[in-house]
Symmetry: D2
Subunit: 320 residues, 4 copies
C-alpha cells in the first residue's frame, strides 16, 4: 500500500481520497476549506490544516497528488517548492494544459523532484465506477504509484473483454495507462474531453431534431426521454453519455429547469487549439465548442451583422 | 424592343419593369395590390387590373415574367394556364427550387407553352446597378428575350475586364448567361445564394472577433465600422457585401437597432440539401445556414441537453 | 407466437429470422438469391422460392416484414400488391426515408392493407445482442406484433436500469418503442443514424489528433489502440462504438488495411436534409457527413479552386 | 518625404520599396539575397549589402520596416538590436502573431526603441493597387510615418464613397488605419486573413457544387469560368476574390494544372486559436482551415477509423 498526500478535496479530490482509503492506502488530505476536510471525517482519510503540515506528515520520498483547478497549479507549486525534497513525486491529477505539464516537469526536475501528469476521468461517478487514468511521466514514477492507479481504476471487469486482445498486454484494460513522456497524460485526457464535447453535440443535435419533429410533424408525438431509453439497448449509439441523458430526461422530460447557457472549460478549447497546431481537421470538435459559445450569446454581434447585410442588399427587415 | 408582361410588382418586379421601360421596352405590369401598380404611375410601365387583362393586353406569342414568391408560383400558373396560347413564353424570375422549374417546364411544354427560369440577383440595387441574370431554358427562348436580358443586366462596363478573356466569348461579361437546360438558371442562382450565405458568415464571424477583442484586449479600441471601411481598399476581402457592411456600420456603429434574429429563405436551404444530394462537402455553406437557425433559438433544446449531460456526469451547474 | 413472412434474407433479414425462429415464432423467409435461403437451412426458418409462395404459405391476415434496400421497396410493394388481402400487415424494417413510409402507409390503406415502419438497429450483432426497434404505425398494429418485437429486442437486462424510471413505464426499456404515427419509426431511426455519424466523427477526429501527436510531439509514443482500450473503463466517452474501435485497433493497430474512402448511406443524408427542413442547426451531423464526401475526393475541385485563388492574389505555388 | 529602411526584398518588400521610391520617398533596402537587391536596380531604391550598412545609411532616428517571414523576426531583431538607437522606429510589416508584436514592442521599449505592427494586405497586386494597412502602435509613431502610409495605401479613389460617411472622418477611407495599441495592427490583419479563408471556402464549395451538377444533372452544361464571370456584375457575391477566380478559370477552365493540396499559413491558424481564446464561434473560419488540412491528407487516419467502425458494427466493406 502507498502513502499519498492529496491537495484539493473538492468533488474529485475527496472521492479519490475516499476510494484510496477504502482500499487500504494511507491518504493525507489538505484543502484550504475546512468544510471540505470535515466532510471526509469518517472516510479513513486523514486531513491536515496546512500545506506544511501535509509535507511534515508524509514520509519522504513523498507522493503528492494535486487535484486543483488548472489556473491554481502554478501558485500551489510555488508554495510547495521550498518544502519538497529530492525524489518527491508531485502528481497533477487535474485538467492542465499538456504543455504546462511539460514545463512543470522540467522546472521540478531542476530540484530533483519528479512530476507526473494524470488525466483523470470519472467525474462525480468515479468513487463508485472507478477513474480512467491517463498517465504521462517516467516509467519508474508510474511503477512507483502502480498500486494507487490500480486501486483508482475501474478494473478489468468494468467492461467486457475486447475480442482478440491478449489478456496480458498492459494495464489499459484495467482503466489506466502510461501513455508516454511528461504531458502525454494530460494530452490524452484533453483529447478525451474533446471527443466528449463532440459526442455530446451529436446527441444534442439529434434530440433537437426529435424535439422539432414533435412540434412540426403531425403524428410524431414521442417523448425524447423514451427515445433515449430505447436507444440504450441494441442500438449503435449506446454509451454512458446516453445513459445519463436518459436519466436526466426521466427527471425533467422537457429539460425546463435548464437555461441552455452551456459552459465550457479549458480542455475543450485546448483540443481545438492543439488540433490547429498539429494540422488536424476538427470540424466536429470545433463545432461542438463553438455551439457552447453561441449558447452564451457570443454570436450576437455576428448575427446582427448578418441582419444588417440582409437589410442593405435586399431591404429585408429581420423578420423577412 | 420587346413586349413583356410582368406579374408581381414588389421590390424586385417593379424595379425590373422600371428598368425595362426606361430603356424602351414595352412593359405591362400586374399586381394584386393596386398600391403596387399605382407606384409605377410615372415609370412608363403600363399596369392592368387582372391577369386576364394582362393576357389580353399582350400580343401573342406572349412573354410573361413572373416575379412572385416561390410558394405562389404553382397557384399563379394554375390561374394563367387556360389563358395561355401555344408559343407563349413564361419566365420564372423568382427564387424557385430548380427541380420545380424542371417540372414546370415539362408541364407547360405539354400545352405548347415555353418556360424559362431566370435567377435574378441584384436586390433593391438592381434598378441602378443592373441585374445579374442566370438563365435556364432553350437557346431559342433565350435568344427571343436577348434584348430584355441585355437591358436588365449591368453591362460589360460594370466591372473591369478579366485578363485573358476573349472579348467576344459570350454574354457572361455583360452580366447574363444562358447556363443550360431548364432549371439550370435557378440552380446557379441557388448556388450563388449559398455562396452569399457563406461569405456573409465569414464576415460576421470576423466582426464578432473584432468586437470581442475590443472588449477583452486592452488597447484594442478600434471601431468595427472603421475596419470595414479600411478593408474596402487594397485588401483581399474587398467585396460588395463589405461595401454594404461599411455603410450599415456608419449608420449604426454597434448595430444596436437590430436583434440578431436572422431570417433565411429557400435558396440557402436548397443549397445545403442539394449539396447533400450531389455528395458535395458543404461545411461552410451549411454552417452559415445553421448559424441563422441558432440565431432564432432553434438550438435551445440541444443546449439544454448539453447542460443536462454536464450536470449528470460532472455535477456541474450551468454556470460552472 | 406469431407467424411472420420475411422478404430479404441478407445480413439483417436472415438474422432477424433466426432470432425469431430460435424463440418459437413461425418464420417463412424469401430471398431472390437461393444461396441466401440455403444459408438458413438449419435455423428453423422455412424458406420459399417466390413471393407468391410466400403469400400462399402465410395465413391471412398476414404479417410480412420487408428487409430490403430502401431503393427496392417500391418495386417490391408493386409485386406484392395484387396478392395482399385486407388486414394484411406489411412492415418495412429497412432504412427508408420517413416520408416514403408515410406515403406507402397511405397507398396501402387504400387497399385495406396495414403498414408499419420499423427502424431496426443492431447490424451484424443483432442476432446476439438483440435489435433496437423504432416503430411507427397504429397502436393496434404495434400490439399485433408485440411478441415479435419483444423477441427481437434485447430485453430489459441488456442495460442497467435508469435511475428514477418507473419499471412499468412502457416498452422502451426493453429496446423497442412505438414512437408514433406512420413514418415516425423511420424518422427516429434516421436521427439515430445521424447521431451515429456524429459520434463516429468525434472519435475519428480524436484518434487523428492522437495519431498526429505521436508523429509530431517528442515522447508521445502511445498506441491508439491502447488508448481506445483505456477509455472503455471509467471514462466519459465509453460507448459501444468505442468498444468496436478498440477491437478494430487490436487487429490492425495502424488501420493499414483500409483506404479511408468512407461510404455513406441514405439515413445520414436524410438527417441533414431533414434538419434543414425543420430548421435545426446540424453543425456536427452535417460535418460528419461532409467528411465522408471529402474522403472520397468530392472536395477536389473546391481544393483546386482554393489553390487557384492563392496563386492569383499572392503568387503562391501550391506548396507555399 | 520620409527616409525608410526596408529589410526583406521578397515579393512584398520589393514592391513596397518600389511604390515608395516611385512616389519620392527615400528607400534603402537590404536582403540577404543579392539577387533580390539586384532586381531593384532601376527602381530608385538604394540597396545595401548588410544590416550594418543599412543602419549606417539611415539618419537617426531611423525608420526600419521589416518584411520577413514571421518565424525570422526575432532573429532579425536580435541582429539589429545592438545597432539601434533611442527613438528609432522598427516596423513589422509581415504576418506575425499579434501577441508577439505586443511582446516585441515591450522588449524594444526597454531600449527606448519604438515598435509598430503593420498588417499589410495586397499581395502581388499591391504595387499597382496599393496596400491596405492595418496599424498598431502609438499615435505619435503613426503620425511620424503618415506620408509613408498614405503613399502605400490605395487612396480614397480606389472605391466609391460609403453613403453617409463623413469625408473627414479619419484615414480608413484611404486604405490605412491606426487600429489601436501594439499588436492591434497584426490582430486586424489576422482577422482579415481569417475572413479571407472563409470567403475562399464559400466560393470553393459553391464551385464544387456547380462542378458536381455538371457531371450529375442532365442538361446542366455550364462552364464554371463563365459562371464566375457572370457573377462579377450585379450579383451579391461580387468581390475581388471572384475577379481572380474568373481570371484563373479563363486560363485553366478545369483547374487541371493544380493538385488541390492547399497550403495554409499562420494567420489562418491564429484566427481560429484566437477565436477560441476569446470565446467566438468560428464555424466558418474553422471549417475553411480544416478543409485545407484535409486537402493535404491530414484526415486520413480519421477516415480509416470511420471505415473500421463501419466494418465492425455493420460488416460493411469500404465500398458499401
Amino acid at each position: 500500500m502507498t502513502q499519498l498526500g492529496i491537495i484539493g478535496l473538492g468533488r474529485m479530490g475527496a472521492n479519490i481520497a475516499r476510494r484510496l482509503a477504502a482500499n487500504g492506502h494511507q491518504c493525507v488530505g489538505y484543502d484550504p476549506s475546512s468544510d471540505a476536510a470535515a466532510a471526509l471525517s469518517d472516510s479513513g482519510v486523514e486531513t491536515v490544516n496546512s500545506l506544511s503540515d501535509l509535507l511534515a506528515r508524509l514520509t519522504p520520498p513523498r507522493n503528492i497528488w494535486m487535484m486543483v483547478p488548472s489556473e491554481k497549479v502554478d501558485a500551489l507549486l510555488d508554495e510547495l517548492r521550498s518544502g519538497l525534497s529530492k525524489d518527491d513525486l508531485v502528481i497533477d491529477g487535474g485538467n492542465s494544459y499538456f504543455r504546462e505539464a511539460q514545463r512543470r516537469a522540467q522546472d521540478l526536475a531542476a530540484l530533483g523532484v519528479n512530476f507526473m501528469d494524470v488525466g483523470t476521468s470519472g467525474g462525480v461517478w468515479g468513487l463508485e465506477r472507478g477513474y480512467c487514468l491517463m498517465i504521462g511521466g517516467t516509467a519508474s514514477d508510474v511503477a512507483r504509484l502502480d498500486s494507487v492507479f490500480s486501486t483508482l481504476a475501474p478494473g478489468v471487469d468494468a467492461a467486457s473483454p475486447t475480442p482478440g486482445r491478449a489478456s496480458n498486454s498492459g494495464t489499459a484494460d484495467q482503466g489506466y495507462l502510461h501513455c508516454g513522456g511528461h504531458g502525454s497524460g494530460h494530452f490524452v485526457k484533453m483529447v478525451h474531453n474533446g471527443i466528449e464535447y463532440g459526442m455530446m453535440a451529436a446527441y444534442a443535435e439529434g434530440f433537437q431534431l426529435l424535439s422539432n419533429a414533435v412540434e412540426q410533424i403531425e403524428g410524431f408525438d414521442f417523448e425524447c426521454g423514451e427515445v433515449a431509453e430505447l436507444w440504450r439497448r441494441g442500438s449503435v449509439v449506446e454509451s454512458w453519455l446516453l445513459d445519463l441523458t436518459a436519466k436526466a430526461l426521466v427527471a425533467d422530460p422537457k429539460l425546463e429547469e435548464l437555461t441552455g447557457r452551456v459552459s465550457d472549460s479549458g480542455e475543450g478549447r485546448w483540443t481545438v487549439q492543439t488540433a490547429v497546431e498539429l494540422g488536424v481537421p476538427a470540424h466536429v470538435l470545433g463545432a461542438a465548442l463553438y455551439q457552447r459559445f453561441s449558447s452564451r450569446g457570443e454570436a450576437d454581434f455576428a448575427n446582427r451583422t448578418l441582419s444588417a447585410m440582409r437589410r442593405e442588399f435586399g431591404g429585408h427587415s429581420e423578420s423577412q
